[in-house]
Symmetry: C2
Amino acid sequence: MAKGYGPLSGLVVIDLTQFLSGPLATMILADLGADVIKIERPDRPKASGPFLNGERIYDLSVQRSKRSVTLNLKMEEDKKILLELVKKADVLVENFKPGTMERMGLGYDVISKVNPRVIYMAISGFGYTGPYRERGALDMIIQGMSGLMSLTGDPDGPAMRCGTSASDVFTGLYAFGAMSAALYDREKTGKGQFVDVAMLDSTFSCLENAVINTCVFHKNPQRVGNSHPTSVPFGTFPTADDGEIIITCSRDAAFYNLCRALGREDMITDPRYSKAEDRRQHKAELTEEISKFTRAHTLDECAAILEAHDVPNGRINTMTMICDDPQIAARDMIVEVEHPVAGKYKMAGSPLKFGNYPATTYEPAPMLGQHTQEVLKEYLGMPQEEIDELLEEHKNMLKK
Amino acid sequence: MAKGYGPLSGLVVIDLTQFLSGPLATMILADLGADVIKIERPDRPKASGPFLNGERIYDLSVQRSKRSVTLNLKMEEDKKILLELVKKADVLVENFKPGTMERMGLGYDVISKVNPRVIYMAISGFGYTGPYRERGALDMIIQGMSGLMSLTGDPDGPAMRCGTSASDVFTGLYAFGAMSAALYDREKTGKGQFVDVAMLDSTFSCLENAVINTCVFHKNPQRVGNSHPTSVPFGTFPTADDGEIIITCSRDAAFYNLCRALGREDMITDPRYSKAEDRRQHKAELTEEISKFTRAHTLDECAAILEAHDVPNGRINTMTMICDDPQIAARDMIVEVEHPVAGKYKMAGSPLKFGNYPATTYEPAPMLGQHTQEVLKEYLGMPQEEIDELLEEHKNMLKK
């Protein structure tokens, strides 16, 4: 099968992941040209919808450009096939609970003996060490435990979930980077290695300011809603047409530009507003001054005036608005593929634009076992009879 | 200077970034052992606080383990020095607005001529192409524009900012991975390249389900607060001691475990709850059934019972709670360094645990220009007199 052409072309990845963190990481590898071979149970349980012509929409997006091979890892024969594939692989990724692969006889000791050059990427909720190592985790659990939810939402309201699966995404992105760094390392040392990345660690490390501030001041940062813990002005302001415009001035220079945009050069030297610390002290008054201006103009007018004065500003797009945005179109950030069952569908494209390679190409998500024959022939030279026997066994398994 | 020992040891990175997306990406490179040389203006403007003994807390965390070299890139002499450093570098990272480096005479054409093996990582708000390419952007602007805010918050409340700088973090993590992948590619091809990563693209691509659902159904996903667009049950439930426990069951098997935990095996076969689609239809009733149980137990009791039945559950930690968590301690996720001025301080550690390398070591954030002499001697063999002249010029610049 013709795989994509990119910085990871030629890379062979064995993908044993589920949910989002792992599949996202391997999706990025596939976008960059890797041959990602998704190993699936022949009796894959029916997942929850929504569906498009019976195909799960979630998978249509995150499993794109991968190949699907069915193996029943409870059977010795299938386990042997997996290990044969590992011999040809550069990377193995799994996100089972720690201990699961060991119990299947597929722990890192076994994998690395079969292929010492393989990068074994273990993604888990809490990592391979520490008191919680055997606990499972899902995105929202980690959003709550990590402190992220405690930072999200209005000061007077409840702690809120970030509206995307931020913990899964942080973890998947870290894993993508870690695998790439380990591959670079392997080119120098010739050695594969075990890499242990946890969702709790990843999310905690992505809370930026909040961690060091808590360590330094020994108290909880206040939840600030659409404000910022330290920058003023920073937030949403009402416009004449009942819209909202985001204005953020983290640096004095941006604030001075804002003063000019408002025709209020006097505020630049006003001791209540001149410096960041002053503005923090007089946040309410300053917010009112800015709102007076924004309430007198439409959202479009506000945006044009602020943009002309180089003031960081933006609008709160809905999903349909951003999906129709000309910048998203110009950057190929929505792409279309055709799936044999689901038909044509669109999804988000890759944000990684490599100068030495043509634009990323995309294949649809595979159907269950779509590439079993193809992959076993291509990588293992397995005779047709053996493949037929294997598939027969899988069918028998389904009948039980 | 002794640099860290890790998969990126020996790597030389020229860091021209500011704010968060770029500095986060280079912080990860430094954590993995790279020598990150932060190029700073001798007249660096005083940034906003909070401060620890006069040092900016934000920088203490995100600039850790880097070296600081002051150069005035408006002066030809200093620009020449930068280009000499580029000759010794593997990676150059910048997050100016597109066009800024070109205007300084330091565009990719110049950089790649000086060192064709360099990876030029350009991070920007909107990328190097498209109608918005010349616009600046900051985290919240992109959270608003990308659609992320429209997905965050209560259905009846306003669109909310994710409580960490999610757009900066998504972008920084993508950039880290892209640089590592480009380095791996360089080992194969011998060629450096230009990599263009935008905050809007990165954030949009991290909205997972929301993008493909919008493309398929042509309507905005509903904001769901602490629920999930498709999984039921999923959310926070009240406990007897006025706490809240998170319970999420994305798969039927997890829901059946929950039924057992509640002593309500009858719900497993109840046609209102048995399948994911049924539960979506009867969300309110099911929420009440679960709440009846959680309201009768304390948070600790709920957690213990759910954990014993393998039901994904968690609590909403505050920052002080998670910073004191034994798992965070066991994973070395809070680390301490000693800064010559700020003194000892703690911050989040690296979530990347590489089996072939010892635990990450950390250096404090550098003071402005702390390593100018050291780096210019080490990499360029610059004589002391020339360094003295350069530093004298910088002092004159400050006097103006």
